[in-house]
Amino acid sequence: MPIIATQGLTMRFPRVTALDDLTVAVEPGIIGLVGANGAGKSTLIRILLGLQRPTSGRASVLGLDIARDGARIRERVGFMPEYECLPPDVSATEFVVHMARMCGLPPTAARERAADTLRHVGLYEERYRPIGGYSTGMRQRVKLAQALVHDPQLVFLDEPTNGLDPAGRDEMLGLIRRIGTEFGISVLVTSHLLGELERICDHVVIIDGGRLLRSQAVEAYTAASGSLTVEVDEGRDRLAALLAEAGLAVRAEGRQLVVDIADESTYDLIRDGVADLGLRLVRLEQRRHRIEEVFAPASHQAAAPGAPPAPPGAYPQGGVR
């Protein structure tokens, strides 16, 4: 049974269409939702939580219809918003206990669960201090804790790595991976950075301008492509000339050569070519796709001549539309 399914989901605001006929279904696991700012990620989450009624279309979460069973959905899911949502003058413990009670946990259970959850997200002694004095990383952990404290079956994490430094980002990603695997809680995590979702997700959904661009398992994005990467110590160009002469499609990429695989004999030709020229082979490997390539053709079209190249892993800003 899909954990989230939408059918023709459309959300129109007076001036902008946030979601446009979105039909997608995903299975339990860690699901990445990728799109630029304004692609409709947060709107989709609000609709799935039953907080906002879509203009048209239907959706179900955990097999429950969002229009009819909003309250039952909200009992079973957790939500970590993208923005600051913490009162500065209470302690993390006090706040998370209160949020647990708001989910119906009895007082004792709320206190126990809050202590456990704060420990799991990595907040220890500091949890008794007012939140106002916390670092961004600690605040993100409190936000995560309040989303998990009632042991939901599914959590929506909206841009959880926003504003974190690289180390904090890695820790947060590791934590999300643990939530999905060790805790056994399904996760829908949004980001505008494809690279980080590639690392932790089972399935990635890409939306742009409210439309579905692609929805598939991460392995499918990163499946083997039909080419090989060859790296030699010296004599790259000599090898390239030799292979081209043998009828292979070869192009240089930095210190490496990328060779399209024509058939089984391609491997032999490369091996023999390297041996004949007496070169030292550093690397010969199957080239894999990266999720970013989904955007590559479009970004080439959109990029103005002479525009600086996008940083690796970044979503092409103002891109595909």
């Binding site: 609000r46 939580l49 907080l51 906002q52 309250a71 909200r74 009992e75 899911v77 957790g78 939500f79 918003p81 923005y83 600051e84 949502c85 913490l86 009162p87 500065p88 003058d89 209470v90 006090e94 209160h98 949020m99 009670r101 708001m102 989910c103 119906g104 946990l105 009895p106 259970a109 669960r113 456990d116 420990r119 799991h120 007012p130 309040q146 009632h150 042991d151 060790e182 805790f183 056994g184």
Partner: protein
């Protein structure tokens, strides 16, 4: 020396009970009631409410002492007069604490966290309104109760009369609390910045009171006591006093009171409209905030 080790026993799922709407509503009410007195927050949040509560108690304690020492047969302040006489203190309490309940969670954008949980919009508004009303009621009813207990301890004559006046005043306090909470919550909910919220509540109170007093003064100078009485409808303390006087049989405490049972009924109706009207206004305000 012993060292303690925290053993990570891994994640455990919660298999216990999940209580329903009644429990959530009750928890929300208690949470907000505590917040109204700064409980669960740093010490400086407690200073203002408890200081004002102490000031509210002073006259009552003084009255009890004076009655005991001087052997008066009736207290120098009537029960139903208490809230009206100390209205400035009550208004300051409302101005400082209504923003705590109404706009603190708006300002810090906590509201969406409630509505992404099994918390209903109406329950959320009712819990906040009821919590603020309860806090205001406690602020007014505790001193009056102290005075009443004092009358019993001092063995003042006409014990049954005292009881009746005391109970009447308590009813009045309920009405004061509801009307003030409704006005304070609505004003504070639309002024998200805390300082502005405090100023806005004070402004609504003092401008309405000042305006009404001026018109009442002018009307009385022209011996138009009817107009002066009806003007009382336009400021909260005078409004509730009209109900106390005309429907509950208290003696007037405000400058002028609308005439007859009709005046009382109109005032009561207006109280009802204020309280009932604040609910849909707050409902829409918080619902919108839940979507941000």
């Amino acid at each position: 020396m012993t060292t303690s080790i925290i053993h990570d026993i891994g994640y455990r799922h919660y298999e216990g009970r999940r209580l329903g709407r009644g429990y959530v509503l009750r928890s929300l009410y208690v949470h907000n009631l505590r917040a109204a007195f700064g409980l669960g927050r740093p010490a400086r949040a407690k200073v203002m409410p408890f200081l004002l509560a102490a000031i509210m108690l002073l006259p009552a304690v003084g009255v009890v002492a004076a009655v005991g020492l001087a052997g008066l047969d009736r207290p120098p302040i009537r029960y139903s007069q208490y809230a009206v006489s100390l209205q400035v203190i009550i208004a300051i309490f409302l101005a400082t604490q209504a923003p705590v309940l109404a706009s603190r969670e708006l300002r810090h954008r906590v509201v969406p966290l409630y509505f992404s949980r099994p918390v209903g919009h109406l329950d959320f508004v009712l819990a906040k309104l009821a919590a603020l009303a309860t806090a205001l009621f406690a602020l007014m009813a505790v001193p009056i109760t102290v005075m009443y207990i004092g009358s019993l301890v001092n063995k003042m004559p006409n014990a049954s009369r005292h009881l009746a006046d005391y109970l009447t005043a308590l009813l009045g306090c309920v009405l004061f609390a509801l009307v003030l909470a409704a006005i304070g919550m609505v004003v504070a909910a639309f002024t998200p910045r805390r300082g502005f919220g405090v100023a806005a509540v004070i402004a609504v109170y003092s401008l309405s009171a000042g305006f009404v007093l001026i018109v009442q003064g002018l009307a009385e100078a022209h011996t138009n006591f009817t107009l002066a009485g009806w003007m009382g409808l336009f400021t909260p303390f005078n409004l509730v006093d009209i109900v106390q006087v005309r429907l509950l049989g208290a003696e007037p405490s405000a400058v002028a009171v609308a005439p007859g049972v009709l005046g009382g009924l109109v005032a009561l109706l207006l109280c009802g409209v204020l309280v009932a009207g604040s609910i849909p206004v707050l409902y829409r305000r918080f619902r919108k905030a839940g979507l941000s």
